[in-house]
Structures are given as C-alpha cells and as structure tokens.
C-alpha cells in the first residue's frame, strides 16, 4: 500500500496524488489529511490530481469528504489539475462533487485560496461549484 505524502507549505497542506491508488490508500489519505489539518492548523488544502487518470465514485467521494471535513476544521480544500477526460467522465458518471472547489492548476489553486481565505463564506459557495 502506498502512503501519499502530505507537504506543508506555509499554512497550506499540499497533496499531489501520483499513480493509481487502491481504495485502502485512498481512505488512509483521507484520515491522514484530517489529522494533519488539525495538527497544523492549516487554512487550506490543495489536492493536485494532474497525474490522476481516472476519478471514480470512490475517489470522488473521498474528495468531497475531505472538502467537507476540512471546512468544518476551518480550512478550504481546492482540487487542482483535473484532466478534461476525467472531468467529462465524472459528468457522465453523475458525480456532481457539489461544494468542491477546483482550479486549473496549482498556481491558480493557490491564488484562489489567497483570494477567498479572508472572504465571508457566503461568497465562497458561488465559486467553482
């Protein structure tokens, strides 16, 4: 089983998913992230899926769960780098990933985090839904 490394840059946690994760590794990542958000008091989590070739309902649910959990812990989650083929497939699969915020790439994800971190939550819900 691979453990996905979590990097801390300033008060942002960065996870870059490489390769094809089995379901257990996905769950482990979910738990690790929640722990690290609490331990570090991070204000943002960026999950980079540039290298991910498919997102099925299991991984999709993990992304939504992480976003929901970190929001409760007062951190915003942004998923960056979703490939077009993956996005098209997710739409067809019927996964809406509601509430999940996304950006084209890492740089834009960080900018989005900076822009909205201090903004009131109501404004956030309109972005990237």
């Amino acid at each position: 089983m691979d453990r996905v490394p979590i990097l801390k840059i300033g008060d942002v946690l960065l996870v870059s998913i490489q390769g094809d994760l089995d379901d257990q590794s996905v769950l482990t990542l979910q738990e690790d992230l929640a722990e690290r958000v609490v331990a570090t008091g991070a204000v943002g989590v960026i999950i980079d899926i540039t290298a991910v070739e498919i997102v099925d309902s299991f991984v999709g649910r993990m992304l939504s769960t992480i976003a929901g959990m970190s929001r409760m812990l007062d951190a915003e989650t942004i998923v960056v780098g979703m490939r077009p083929a993956v996005a098209i497939t997710l739409v067809e699969l019927g996964l809406s990933l509601g509430g999940l915020r996304t950006a084209l790439d890492l740089e834009k994800g960080i900018a989005l985090l900076g822009r909205t971190a201090s903004a009131p939550l109501d404004d956030l819900s309109a972005v990237g839904q």
Binding site: D20, L21, D22, D23, Q24, E53, I54, V55, D56, S57, F58, G60, R61, R83, P84, A85, V86, I88, T89, E92, L93, G94, L95
Partner: protein, 130 residues
C-alpha cells in the same frame, strides 16, 4: 481474452490497469479509455464489496466492422433481488453513492445486468470503437 480474479483492493487496481492497456491497444480515444476504465473500476469494486470477490474477463469483440472491448464481471455472491432499484441513480444498499451501476451504464455502449438472488451476479459491458 484475459481472466482476472478479484479478491482484494489490489486486484481492483490491476483490473483498471489491464482494461486501460486493452483500451489503448484497441485504439479507443482518450475519453473513451477513461470512461471504460472508470466503469471497470466501479464494477470491479462492486464485485469485491457486495459479493466478496469474483472474476473479471476482458475480451476484444468484433461486430461487423466495429471492434469493441467487452468486460464481464461475475461473482457467486448474494445477487441483486431488485435490478431496477439497483440501477437507480443514488440507490445503495450500503453507504455508497449508488452511482456505480447506473453511472457505469452511462459510460459504456452496452450494459447488461443479470442476477440470480442467492447465486450471484453477472454484469457485461461493451465499449465500441468509433
């Protein structure tokens, strides 16, 4: 034709990888590859989670001019008593999103679900080249 057994999370990963390799060989477009691999992932996981394991069979088929990738997932698990319900978006007997079956049906060109309650389930999907 390739026969794989599904008894662990690792096997689900292997199914995804083998299906991808066959889809590339067959010349499916990137989007179609992604769709069929995603469907395979959902169905392999169902086999593992809901039936405690089973088999996946990957096969290249031909229909007149067209070639396609056919995947058959079979198990001897508890089966599904209400097929329509199982195929409903959002219906799950456990805590799932209930999108595995209904969603993968939308990702492929042909989809059949056969189940004998108490005996097992067979899901057959086909993706044709364009």
């Amino acid at each position: 034709m390739e026969q794989l057994s599904i008894t662990s999370n690792d096997d689900v990963v292997i199914v995804r990888q083998k299906v991808r390799a066959h889809a590339i060989d067959l010349g499916l477009s990137l989007v179609d590859q992604t769709k069929v691999v995603t469907a395979a992932s959902e169905l392999a996981r169902n086999t593992l989670v809901h039936a405690g394991g089973g088999q996946a069979c990957i096969e290249v088929v031909q229909n007149g001019m067209r070639r396609g990738l056919r995947l058959v997932f079979s198990d001897n698990g508890p089966g599904i008593s209400d097929l329509d319900l199982a195929l409903t978006d959002g219906w799950s007997s456990g805590g799932g999103l209930g999108l595995g079956l209904s969603g993968s049906r939308r990702l492929v060109d042909e989809f059949t679900l056969d189940s004998d309650p108490g005996r097992g389930t067979v899901v057959t999907v086909t993706k044709w080249t364009r």
